[in-house]
Symmetry: C2
Subunit: 319 residues, 2 copies
């Protein structure tokens, strides 16, 4: 898996991504998204150039207006002199890998300039692979010199949690006046939030939501030196509250640096990423090396003679 000298295509693409060539960045992201051999080599060759961007994850309930918020955020950051990349991760099907999403097409057609780059990406599910491609994509954008990377995800689930781990700062977007089941969704992402945004804050129910959030937050045990999660009100369509949000992002960034929590978080994240990639590679190895044993174990499970876990433990025991 080492880069060979004759892989001039990867070399050329690496150079062009580092030179911030928009077409090269798009091509690189496609290679990484497809998890192709070239994509892996390219990621490997760009990784040394990462570590400079501030990565912000933006997630929340459907209908919370995340896209509008991200757009306004990107524009404001750009006006403040930042180079901003937006990565919108779609929960498209893990079965076909195809995207039947109108949203996706809309995003692909969006602004591409030297200062703002917008890209959507499918979050294909596979064994431990959900966040793999999006983590690699973030690295590509980081190497390409974007100072802010906004990663937008839809819904709640393991994918969002993985992406929150990737991010330096996780923004959870809520709206007032949503039903009971939406509150359930909130609970799942409550603990990954570094910043809460109540968008569409001109709607009724904003006080109730804020109160509820504060109550939920008291239920979570946090250390004395932990970050105090703020609640920012926005109306993305006006726009209102965007400056306050950016100020808070910068405050969180400063906090991460001054307390050493940023490095701690980075270490934990890289450790998890190594382990996740290990499981992926181990799955490949086991499938190839023990194909016959898997087949016979499978037959035993179908006949209820053995259970899947016993088969797995025996297989891994051979390693």
């Amino acid at each position: 898996m080492l880069m060979t000298s004759n892989d001039s295509r990867v070399k050329d693409l690496t150079k062009r991504v580092l030179a911030r060539d928009v077409r090269a960045i798009s091509r690189a992201l496609t290679l990484v998204e497809n998890a192709s051999e070239s994509g892996i080599l390219l990621h490997q060759s760009l990784y040394p150039h990462t570590g400079n961007a501030f990565i912000v994850g933006i997630t929340g309930s459907p209908g919370a207006g995340k896209s509008s918020l991200v757009n306004e955020l990107a524009l404001s950051l750009m006006r403040a002199g930042e180079r901003v990349a937006v990565l919108a991760v779609d929960p498209s099907s893990p079965y076909s890998g195809g995207a039947v999403l109108g949203d996706r097409i809309r995003m692909e057609a969006a602004v591409e300039s030297d200062k703002v780059y917008v890209r959507s990406m499918a979050s294909r599910g596979a064994l431990g692979g959900l966040s793999g491609a999006s983590a690699d994509a973030v690295d590509i954008l980081d190497a390409a010199g974007f100072s802010y990377i906004l990663v937008e995800t839809v819904g709640v689930g393991q994918g969002e949690v993985d992406i929150a781990r990737t991010a330096h700062c996780s923004v959870v977007v809520l709206v007032p006046g949503m039903g009971d089941e939406v509150q359930v969704m909130k609970a799942g992402i409550l603990e990954i939030a570094d910043v809460f945004v109540i968008n569409k804050s001109d709607r009724p129910g904003v006080h109730a939501l804020e109160r509820e959030l504060r109550i939920l937050m008291t239920l979570i045990t946090t250390a004395a030196d932990a970050w105090k999660v703020p609640i920012i009100r926005t109306i993305a369509t006006k726009p209102e509250g965007i400056k306050e949000l950016i100020d808070m992002l910068n405050e969180h960034r400063t906090w991460l640096k001054s307390t050493g929590k940023g490095e701690e978080k980075a270490k934990q994240y890289i450790r998890e990423r190594i382990l996740q990639l290990c499981t992926k590679e181990a799955a490949k190895l086991i499938s190839n090396r023990y194909a016959a044993e898997i087949d016979s174990g499978l037959a035993d499970c179908l006949n209820r003679k053995r259970d899947p876990r016993s088969v797995a433990i025996e297989l891994v025991g051979k390693l």
Copy 2:
């Protein structure tokens, strides 16, 4: 990991679960949910008694009225002489494992009788572990002699897809008149659906939604002998359409059996489950055996000297 003769507690619990003792079933599910040693042993000892239930996954957008639908479905099936278990999988936080969900409490308090059993369960995220506990829980309920197991999940994501794989039949619940972003969620679960339910079908927009679904379905390439996914309209709160839904579930069950697709699906699912459990076991093994190598790889990644994938590939190469 083999069951020892002196583990009388597991033996006793196994017997009582097979005898359909409600308290024993609840205890067994708790052990499995906590992924305790006893839970693993218990699952192992009950697995030979599984394979009789019809497992129906019910998923969809938040606010689609899944809980009402599941309640009506369970009651109707019970009246038809079935023993029904409902497993509601909550997207609670993977960080604390705690549930701050009002919904969960509501579910815990629900009907427990010999014929209907309701249980909610957190979908704790971990490396490849999201669906692990819920798959084991379904096996416990299967061994306990429930003829129908309804697995309710909230939202869309890898968790739902994993649970859909567990199920013999996946029901996707939608409602008319939801916004654009909700449509995106639909796309993600479109291809896992065996049956579409349009709930709250007395609302405006039902025709548009049905038309849209039919268009989306034409975009998916399916084999000539594939199941034709039906669209059933329901109003769970009345209730209306429940009988039609049950008829369709039974039709799908007959189809699975007569075409051999059921066995094909079961094989594929068990294979995936074995591999997923392998990755989990392999991760444990790698973490323990190569702790020092992981630490030095991590340091290299932090310094951008190496990338996480190269570290992982090297570690797995040692196996």
